[in-house]
């Protein structure tokens, strides 16, 4: 099953490679991984999207907790949560595609953030599956380039991951 794991870790050199190394050394999947400093500059917040059986996810959480630099780990799937990912898609904007891409972007509540002679760049935010759905919905041959940030996740309401 797909899980979104959030963690807080010391914002120190090499901390990211400890997490990435753990996943590769133990053969865990990473669908995406995002990391940036938090409002407290000594802490980084990381969101990892992974898949695995309940046993594997339990081990992943335990192994992450075992890393000395990791302060807190939360499996967002244990409760209500929100996930968002940002995608930039450069699409052909010639001929039939010109209107088509504008329309699709509107339907998916995207924004065209760059217009060139032959292409649009669309900015789209949403759950990973929404972004997937957009790519499915448009003509594959129209896609010139995509770049995705990977999911960021946060618990709903009172679920707060903080030191």
């Amino acid at each position: 099953m797909r899980h979104i794991i959030s963690l807080l870790m010391e914002n120190e050199a090499g901390a990211l490679s400890r997490v990435a190394g753990l996943f590769s050394a133990r053969g865990y999947n990473i669908e995406s991984l995002t990391v940036a400093a938090t409002e407290d500059a000594t802490l980084s917040r990381m969101t990892i999207v992974t898949t695995g059986s309940d046993d594997v996810i339990e081990q992943i959480i335990k192994q992450l907790n075992k890393l000395i630099d990791v302060v807190k780990v939360l499996d967002l799937n244990d409760g209500k949560h929100i996930e968002r990912e940002l995608m930039l898609v450069k699409v052909k904007a010639t001929g039939v595609f010109k209107d088509e891409m504008k329309r699709m972007s509107d339907i998916f509540r995207g924004r065209i953030i760059d217009v060139a002679d032959n292409s649009y760049t669309i900015e789209l935010t949403g759950s990973c599956s929404k972004l997937d759905a957009f790519l499915e919905a448009i003509d594959r041959s129209a896609i010139l380039e995509t770049v995705r940030t990977g999911a960021s996740g946060i618990g709903r309401g009172d679920r707060i991951l903080k030191v």
Partner: protein, 587 residues
Amino acid sequence: MEASTLSATDTPTQSMTGADIVVHCLNEEQVKFVFGYPGGAVLHIYDALYKQNGFKHILVRHEQAAVHAADAYARATGDVGVALVTSGPGATNAVTGIATAYMDSVPIVVISGQVPVPAIGMDAFQEVDMVGVTRPCVKHNFLVKHVKDIAPTIKKAFYIAKTGRPGPVVVDIPKDITAHVADFIYPKTVEMRSYTPILKGHSGQIKKAVKLLLNAKRPMIYTGGGLVLGNGAAELVKLAKALNFPVTNTLMGLGGYPATDPQFVGMLGMHGTYEANMAMQHCDVLLAVGARFDDRVIGNPKHFTGQKRTIIHLDVDPSSISKRVKVDVPIVGDVQSVLADMNEILAQEENQTTDCAQWWQQIQEWRGVKSLDYQYSDSVIKPQYVIEKLWEVTKGDAYVTSDVGQHQMWAAQYYKFDKPRRWINSGGLGTMGVGLPYAMGCQFADKNAQVACVTGEGSIQMNIQELSTCAQYGLPIKVILLNNRYLGMVRQWQEFFYENRYSESYMDSLPDFVKLAESYGHVGMRITNPADVEGALKEAFDRKDKFVFMDFLTDQKENVFPMVENGKGLSEMVLSPMAANRMKGEQ
């Protein structure tokens, strides 16, 4: 340093170089021995240690041996072992030692030199990314980039190495940092928000566990290296005695329960005794302490879990629990503390008697198979016989180190360890070549102790250069070489699973070990006759001030039994021909 609080000492500060700070830190940690090897990047540190007399530096002949010796020192004493190596090849040579300590959770601190900070990343001479190279095989590692960080980092390194589930910590220090000057302030304590080992076990879980134990009909206690490392052996003995339960130890756990006690059923696992493996497989309540159900211990996990039993698992590391086998009552905590709590709760119970008479009867029947019996010979030395005699001659009180292979299994099976921290071997990583440096570490830990290194002619040659170190420091180690002229365990597997195709497992051109030992100023002995085994051992151990290298020419084709073959269940053992015949006869 927002991440952690380090409270400083009240002593007035002193300005000094980074190298002096390193040395002062080690003395603050009351380090007695540093095992190391100098080189360019650590020259400042070597100059600083030359000028102090707090700890003694032991000059090895290869960095791998420095780390192994520090590792054995830690295993034997329970204190943190320390190694010091230079950058680049010095650091990479240390990696096998670090990985070995990591797999067996041994607390060591390895200080490695690094090229100067401005040279990092420039492919400088003797540069290697030590923090990157060791990341998968350390508990934690640090690259120190400022002289003021040296003391707090070393303080943290010792704290991390020895608390929680212990493990190796690497501190990589660039050369220029060791020449810079700073005030020396050694923190008294460390608190890290990201690292807070759990000590006390959950009282509700402990109570539940005691209830389960009291109601067990076919109980079993299975303990591993964690019991030894966590100094929980005395509490475990108390518990096992109060309950009258059978106890088995893993390879790493030997000595955790006295082997000569009647409740001890022997080691379990791939080469465990018949009774230990059968009892492990067929018990109804299993108390696992500081053990991790690894592949060499329970065999095929599906086969193991196919049999229903209630498992109580006590370990300091939450990630060891339910990793390979689902457990019913997990207890995370320091083994000594949790076992003491168990004993306390048990003492308050009204009815402390357990009813496992029938179970003991069954175990006695299994014991009757005598799975460790072997065919003694008048003409050729049986390796098992050497270990039995070693146990007798040393009165069971030696530190026994081993390398990896058949000799390791025979030492584990036939030397009866009654005390923890006496059996020193590489169980997790299975590193050939540890035996001799391990013996060095033990001899430094306890200079008057009898130290025996049980080894094979393959393994001993992997760190044979340390004969020189042993001569330099006058270490009276006894090497017990079970020389069968084969890489015995490889040969055994080739006999069993590869139709006797002994691919590259025969070693030609062995040195004359007697002459080799003598060339270093040691005593060399060659023993070829079974009748001479005991006398030779006595003679060797009587020479209390001499290093004695004993080359026992043993049976070339002896195998280790019982054996649980790869992928087989724990109760599906291959027995020795003698034990197998005995079983047939009874049926």
